[in-house]
């Protein structure tokens, strides 16, 4: 990589140990991904917040570096493990709560905006087309590249943190013009958000850094988020380009059979004890639609609904929160379905969800059964 004099000096440790560590991460990442230089970024979005995912090692690392480290650019943050407003309703031990609050404190000390959201693209203003950012959180990186005209690598938690501290990121392939060598042709008729989640999961398995995708109808937010979440879970791929692509692209169909394979991999049971909605977290549009669908109906079992705090505040003002609570929903902000410590196999055998991303982590990490259904079906089957 070509580094400036200042970057070379930082890499040697002349700006302190933490900045040296950040440059070591960025340069190693850059070398691995054929970046010829570092480019300035305007916004970093960090993952590695939930104590359930980063553990004591992560908590201690953040606590230690936050003594000196400060972010150089606007930096936002992924969900943590619980909503402080109602954590007492859940069976979480004191150690979890205090470690989680330590993590929150470390990020705030470093100057990070405590947004606790995996949908930064929906709750913050999007900068002008082509702006360089560094998003960890796989669904957000894919959304930023594919739908928001931003440029980001599919950052790791550490490369995004290093980028936030330095204000730069490697100029890897996703930041440059790319021409995917694969085109996925969507063939499934009448897709819902679950179909798009499975399409994303399928695409992530076969795509490299980006894929072309054709045959899509107009998609709503729930569907685009499901597709980004699905792809982020299964692959290294971090961009959809819409269309057939070049004639020499390998064409691969996503039809009923391919969809069934994804379904069979992630759906392990036909019935859940509880329902979770929000992986990625729900935005205001989705909350509004959900409140509409639940008019005059109530869930017959627990239903956890995850959203960013800003969305919860807006929902409360508009009256959606009251409507959802009346219908039996548990409203949770600042956290998410993924690796939630609030869902444990000690008290839950299986979860019903419309999220492919949520399904993957519930199954593999929480160790619970998963029953996949689109939202419309969940409401039909689980409410009266």
């Amino acid at each position: 990589m070509n580094l400036t004099k200042e970057e070379e000096s930082a890499l040697k440790g002349e700006q302190g140990e933490i900045i040296q560590m950040a440059y070591r991460i960025l340069v190693a990442t850059g070398e691995a991904t054929d970046a010829e230089k570092l480019v300035p970024i305007e916004w970093a979005h960090l993952s590695g917040v939930n104590y359930n995912t980063i553990g004591d090692a992560g908590e201690e690392l953040l606590s230690s570096i936050s003594k000196d480290a400060r972010v150089k650019v606007k930096t936002t943050l992924n969900p943590m493990g619980f909503d402080i407003d109602n954590v007492k309703n859940y069976d979480l031990d004191e150690n979890f709560i205090s470690k989680q609050l330590s993590i929150r404190n470390s990020y705030e000390t470093m100057g990070v905006i405590p947004s606790f959201s995996c949908i930064p693209y929906e709750i913050f203003d999007i900068p002008k087309d082509g702006t360089q950012v560094a998003f960890a959180e796989s669904n957000a990186a894919i959304h930023a590249n594919s739908f928001d005209n931003l440029k980001t690598n599919k950052e790791s938690a550490f490369s995004a943190l290093a980028s936030a501290l330095v204000g730069k990121s490697p100029n890897s392939s996703l930041r440059k013009e790319d021409s995917p060598n694969i085109t996925i042709r969507m063939k499934v008729k009448n897709p819902n958000e679950l179909t798009y989640g499975m399409l994303g999961f399928f695409a992530g398995k076969i795509g490299d850094t980006s894929v072309n995708i054709s045959g899509l109808d107009a998609m709503d937010k729930r569907q685009t988020k499901a597709m980004c979440g699905g792809m982020g879970t299964s692959g290294t791929c971090a961009k959809f380009l819409f269309g057939e692509g070049d004639s020499d692209c390998e064409k691969i169909d996503f039809d009923e059979k391919e969809m069934q394979n994804v379904h069979d991999e992630l759906n392990t049971t036909e019935k859940g004890d509880i329902i979770t909605l929000g992986s990625p977290q729900l935005g205001l549009d989705e909350i509004s639609q959900l409140a509409g669908k639940l008019k005059g109906r109530s869930f017959q079992k627990r239903c956890m609904v995850f959203m960013p705090r800003t969305v919860k505040e807006q929902s409360t003002k508009i009256g959606y929160t009251a409507e959802l609570e009346r219908a039996g929903c548990e409203i949770l902000s600042d956290c998410c379905t993924c690796l939630s410590p609030l869902i444990s196999k000690d008290n839950v055998d299986a979860v019903t969800t419309n999220s492919i991303k949520g399904a993957f982590y519930l199954k593999n990490s929480n160790g619970v059964g998963v029953n996949l259904k689109p939202l419309s079906q969940i409401i039909e089957d689980e409410t009266r």
Binding site: S138, S156, T233, G235, T236, Y361, N364
Partner: protein, 87 residues
């Protein structure tokens, strides 16, 4: 093309996988054991192995899993993969 991202010298037994690894959620951060039943290393531990696999996939937080298994002394001795990963 061969690239060395983190250099060092170790000797150990190769544990080879044909499946990519999503470190978050499928690798236990204390023990290094794989929990994904669809993975060819299901129930195997990557601790103290020379782990050879196609690539990392999925969550960006897998980076913290790798950091955790290293802190918990359950990390592989070395990792060799085909495709670049940002972990």
């Amino acid at each position: 093309m061969k690239k060395i991202l983190v250099s060092g010298k170790v000797e150990g037994v190769v544990l080879k996988s044909d499946n990519p690894i999503n470190f978050l959620g499928t690798v236990d951060k204390k023990t290094g054991i794989i929990s994904d039943e669809n993975h060819d290393l299901y129930k195997k531990s990557i601790k103290d192995t020379v782990l050879v696999f196609p690539s990392g996939v999925g969550s960006s937080v897998g980076a913290y899993t790798i950091y955790s298994i290293k802190s918990n002394e359950s990390a592989p001795l070395a990792m060799i993969c085909k495709k670049w990963i940002l972990l």
